[in-house]
């Protein structure tokens, strides 16, 4: 890899993969619970809750980054407390980039999982009940495995989307090589240097390859999900 990519390029690529991978893996359980909640319950104000969950998807990423900075910056109410009591610092760190990525792609995951859950036949749950399966048993052995293809395709799509995240990351955790400089930020940094267009083009090509790879994988997972039913 080092023969094809320069050390700086592979650093940006690996950081991107780490940030996106960890972000989606950490957000997944929360996304599943949220999707389950939205798919199974009915209450007044559900549309509002649904809207709030979808906010990161429709807000300008820069706004999300700014809001994160306000709340989770070292002087922010949450960030200050985390630093003082737990020693956790998001700003200028890859964990902050991960947190921003997770938040931005959270609605995508919730949507995909919710669709998978709502597409599942509720009659199967009734059958399982009359055969003696309790609620948690049904969740673990029926709901989860049946929604699994949807969960996987949702996660892969979210990883692909999060690889392109720019505005929230640069606003929240700045552009630090090796710490927060993911591929899109590296492209931006290259363009800031006179004569950096060639470098930017190489990084763009890398982004295109990566995006295609993940989208194809996501498509396969979706097809597998359909074939199951």
């Amino acid at each position: 890899m080092t023969e094809i990519l320069s050390p700086a390029e592979s650093q940006a690529l690996l950081l991107s993969l780490r940030v996106s991978g960890v972000a989606i893996a950490c957000a997944l359980p929360f996304a599943f619970v949220t999707a389950l909640f939205l798919a199974r319950t009915r209450f007044p104000g559900k549309t509002l809750v649904d809207g709030i969950i979808h906010l990161p998807l429709v807000l300008p990423p820069v706004a999300v980054g700014f809001l994160l900075l306000m709340a989770f910056g070292t002087r922010g109410p949450v960030g200050g407390w985390l630093l003082a009591h737990l020693g956790i610092r998001f700003v200028f760190s890859w964990t902050g980039a991960t947190f921003a990525s997770a938040l931005i792609t959270f609605p995508l995951q919730v949507r995909a999982i919710r669709l998978a859950l709502e597409g599942a036949d509720t009659g199967l749950g009734e059958a399982a009940r009359t055969l003696g399966a309790h609620a948690f048993d049904r969740l673990a052995n029926l709901t989860l495995p049946l929604a699994l293809p949807g969960i996987i395709s949702g996660a892969i799509t979210a990883v692909a989307a999060s690889l392109g995240e720019f505005g929230a990351i640069i606003t929240f955790v700045s552009n630090i090589p090796g710490q927060t400089q993911t591929l899109p930020l590296a492209i931006y940094a290259a363009l800031q240097i006179p004569g950096g267009e060639a470098e930017a083009a190489r990084l763009c090509g890398l982004s295109v390859l990566l995006a295609l790879l993940f989208m194809t994988a996501g498509e396969f997972a979706t097809r597998a999900a359909r074939a199951w039913r």
Partner: protein, 356 residues
């Protein structure tokens, strides 16, 4: 063995108000769609909570709204077989079959599992996925899955309704074997009198959310007043294969006479369940002589119900009850009143199954 059902439930314009007790065996819940059959089994299974009700199976109370008792569906041990099989698509046939078994408080032993697999002819399907099964195969797997959960009661909600006639004929023998072999109380929802006549010991007839009639399959289907047109009239009774006549016809002896029917390949002495549809019986006041029908049975008119220009006649042939439907004009011409002697000319006999 008994099943007690009492429930009142109102949803929109539909009101359900039923109470009945069965003594085990196969009880058919018969009625047109919208009569409340599926609601009743859903309440028994615990999938639907009625506004008022009491359900007890073999003395174990599953629901009693007056004491706020409601055993959750998963603890009721009332396995249900649905119209649409509802097999778990991500599990093999084997795992589907063992789903309830794994969760049963008292598990059936290996021999029982083998027996059920054998009884339902599932041996060759165990490794398959539900997706590749035919409708009939799915129904059989669903039936086996419910049985292996070792339930106290089996609820069958039109398990054959989604199948075509050929598939239905494929499953019915399995259900008959099941009804004969297990001592499990079964509630069989159906709107097919053929299925009911073949399987049921008792019938509960539902109409508009109420019990219209209840009785033994041998009595109720000839009770012209109680059923008043639905289910269709027709006698069901048991007979013994007495032997073969010189002309090749088999003789069925029953409590009231002998019927000659097309050759049966079963051994002499076999007990069979026989059905005579009301439309297949003609009536005469004097014994007809030169006639194509093979069977003429002397009987006495039991009850008569005139409706429109038709008349339903219940007949007593020895201890066996038969029923015939004729026109009101014929009835007047022949003077058929309760107590009058008549001859039933049987046009066709259906041998349903071996009697249990």
């Amino acid at each position: 063995m008994s099943v007690e059902v009492f429930l009142r439930h109102r949803r929109g314009a539909f009101a359900l108000d039923v109470a009945f007790v069965t003594r085990g065996g196969v009880t058919a819940l018969f009625g047109p769609s919208g009569a409340g059959k599926t609601s009743i089994v859903s309440v028994i299974a615990g999938l639907l909570r009625p506004q008022e009700g009491r359900i007890a199976v073999n003395g174990r109370v599953l629901l009693d709204t007056s004491t706020r008792l409601s055993v959750p569906a998963e603890a009721r041990r009332t396995a249900m077989v649905f119209q649409d099989s509802r097999l778990f698509p991500h599990m093999s046939v084997r795992d589907n079959l063992l789903f309830g078994w794994r969760r049963a408080p008292v598990k059936a032993d290996a021999a029982t599992i083998d027996h059920v697999v054998d009884l339902l002819g599932l041996g060759g399907l165990l490794g398959r996925a539900p997706r590749g099964l035919s409708g009939g195969e799915k129904s059989r797997v669903a039936l086996g899955r419910a049985l292996l959960a070792s339930p106290d009661m089996l609820l069958l909600d039109e398990p054959l309704a989604s199948l075509d006639a050929a598939r239905r004929d494929e499953i019915l023998p399995y259900l008959e074997k099941l009804a004969r072999e297990t001592r499990l109380p079964m509630l069989y929802v159906s709107h097919s009198v053929e299925e009911v006549a073949r399987l049921a010991d008792e019938i509960v007839v539902l109409q508009d959310g109420r019990v219209k009639a209840q009785g033994s399959v041998f009595d109720l289907l000839t009770d012209v007043d109680a059923i008043a047109g639905a289910p269709p009239l027709g006698a069901v009774f048991e007979a013994t294969l007495a032997g073969q006549r010189a002309d090749g016809l088999s003789l069925l002896a029953f409590d009231g006479g002998v019927l000659a029917v097309a050759k049966l390949s079963r051994p002499p002495g076999a007990r069979l369940r026989v059905r005579l549809r009301a439309e297949d019986i003609m009536l005469a006041c004097e014994e007809p002589r030169a006639i194509s029908a093979n069977n003429v049975l002397p009987c006495i008119v039991g009850a008569v119900r005139a409706h429109g220009d038709q008349a339903d006649i219940q007949l007593l042939c020895g201890a066996t009850k038969l029923a015939a439907r004729i026109t009101g004009a014929s009835r007047a011409r022949l003077g058929l009143e309760p107590g009058v002697s008549a001859f039933a000319i049987v046009k066709s006999v259906t041998v349903e199954r071996e009697a249990g």
